[in-house]
């Protein structure tokens, strides 16, 4: 007699982690592309930002989906971590984790928490002012304000530094996360090996691009 598959089965939790992670990776790809425009052209950046900020599909469909993905990924991350540490109540006196696994794979919770903290800062910097502008103050749409806001934020060396550190940790998180999500979904063949390599490239290029954007605006102005 078979057990039926349960939603809280360990493997399905991991699949949820993998799917939400891959979803967030696609979001990151979009985000970095849009941001990079700010390095190239002030006007185009303002235009696309305005589109993103006022398009109903993005605001009322994509944004909630994104929020759900983010929350799911974080909550599951905490749940899994709590279960994992409960699975070894007495820890080793000596544990040589570096002997058999990469730093990034062993410290997803650390890189994840840094990203979470960064997200708080990021919301404080951009999302909350945006909400306040649109819904609290109820100001009229202004398609030219985005670039200036952005540049203004990167005046502070402390904030720029925090952003850069977070992006580096994001790189570590992606380095393990991408390949890991393929494995969690059951992919382990020549295609997944190829995709993993793409993932390693992504884990380097995307955070590097974010760092360049931050530094560009900090030093350029």
């Amino acid at each position: 007699m078979a057990q039926s598959a349960q939603l809280n089965a360990s493997i399905l939790k991991k699949v949820a982690m993998a799917l939400s992670g891959i979803f967030l990776i696609t979001f990151l790809a979009l985000h970095v592309t849009l941001n990079f425009i700010s390095v190239i052209s002030e006007n185009v950046f303002n235009e696309v930002s305005h589109f993103m900020g006022y398009n109903p599909l993005i605001q009322y469909v994509m944004q909630p989906v994104l929020a759900f993905g983010v929350i799911l990924h974080f909550v599951m991350g905490f749940v899994l971590t709590a279960q994992n540490s409960a699975a070894r109540p007495i820890s080793y006196a000596r544990y040589n984790g570096a002997a058999n696994a990469s730093w990034s794979s062993r410290n997803m919770i650390i890189s994840g928490l840094v990203i979470l903290a960064f997200l708080g800062l990021h919301f404080y910097d951009f999302w909350f002012p945006e909400l306040s502008y649109k819904y609290v103050a109820g100001e009229a749409p202004n398609a030219t304000r985005y670039y200036e806001d952005l540049v203004h934020k990167f005046e502070s060396p402390v904030r720029t530094g925090l952003y850069c550190i977070s992006f580096i940790l994001l790189g570590f998180h992606l380095w393990h996360g991408f390949a890991s999500s393929l494995q969690s979904m059951g992919m382990h063949n020549k295609y997944s090996r190829f995709l993993s390599k793409v993932g390693y490239g992504f884990a380097v290029v995307v955070p590097a691009a974010f760092v360049i954007i931050a530094l560009f605006h900090h030093f350029n102005n």
Binding site: A87, R88, N100
Partner: protein
């Protein structure tokens, strides 16, 4: 060789336990690690102290009984070996060696370095078999040809000795490598495919009940596995489980 051993001593399951230091001398590089512990135990007995309890049996790397966590690694610093095949030539004169039991909630300590791995047995009871009677009245062994690659991969998975190094070494104490090896062995053979859906659901369910952690794909288990069981098995089990879940 002269060594300092730091060994976990624990009288029984209720005792709190702790690390005790033992200096030892006269160890030869050709000795196996367990023979080194034999020497220590002989000395302890002669001094009127209790010898260190540790699991061991075949001492040729196949029974899966030995289970020491040595200097932070399951089965010690060598690769592709169990503790009984680890030789003292892997250490240097003057080294300090930490010796601890395999640790996991699902592997409670019985005494000193001996742990209870019956959780592995219970996972196997849940589905680690093909439901065929042992009457001998089956079809001729050569009736169903089996693709050689599949047969070889099935064998590679079946080579698991159930020692628990994967759990001990995993930062999450996950048993995925062990369970997936068993699931894969059968999933790859035509004989095992018949009840593959039930098998993976039942075994994973039992695995979760036993209190093992979740796999985060660090790959440490594959590195420390004395039999080189591949992570590919874990991916296969994930796939099998997903497919089984979709069947309802």
């Amino acid at each position: 060789m002269k060594l300092t051993l730091k060994i976990w001593r624990q009288k029984n399951a209720q005792d709190k336990g702790g690390i005790v230091e033992y200096p030892i001398d006269g160890i030869e590089p050709d000795m196996s690690f367990l023979e080194m512990l034999d020497v220590l135990n002989e000395q302890l007995i002669n001094k009127g102290e209790e010898p260190v309890a540790f699991d061991h049996d075949c001492r040729e790397g196949i029974c899966g009984m030995c289970s020491l966590f040595i200097n932070g690694e399951a089965h010690g610093p060598d690769r592709g070996v169990t503790t009984c095949q680890l030789h003292m030539r892997m250490f240097k004169d003057g080294d300090t060696i930490f010796i601890e039991p395999f640790r996991a909630k699902a592997f409670p300590v019985i005494k000193d370095l001996v742990v209870d791995r019956s959780s592995f047995d219970r996972i196997q009871h849940a589905g680690g078999f093909i439901s065929v009677n042992t009457s001998g009245n089956t079809i001729d062994a050569n009736t169903i040809p089996v693709n050689k690659d599949d047969a070889d991969k099935s064998f590679d998975a079946a080579a698991c000795i159930g020692c628990g190094a994967c759990v001990a070494t995993c930062k999450n104490s996950s048993a995925m490598l062990f369970v997936s090896a068993k699931v894969s062995q059968y999933a790859l053979l035509p004989q095992g495919k018949v009840e593959a859906t039930d098998r993976v659901l039942n075994m994973v369910h039992q695995m979760d009940l036993e209190g093992f952690g979740n796999c985060t794909n660090t790959g440490a288990c594959e590195v420390e596995c004395p039999k080189g069981i591949s992570l590919e098995n874990i991916a296969r089990m994930n796939r099998e489980y997903l497919a089984a879940s979709l069947k309802g």
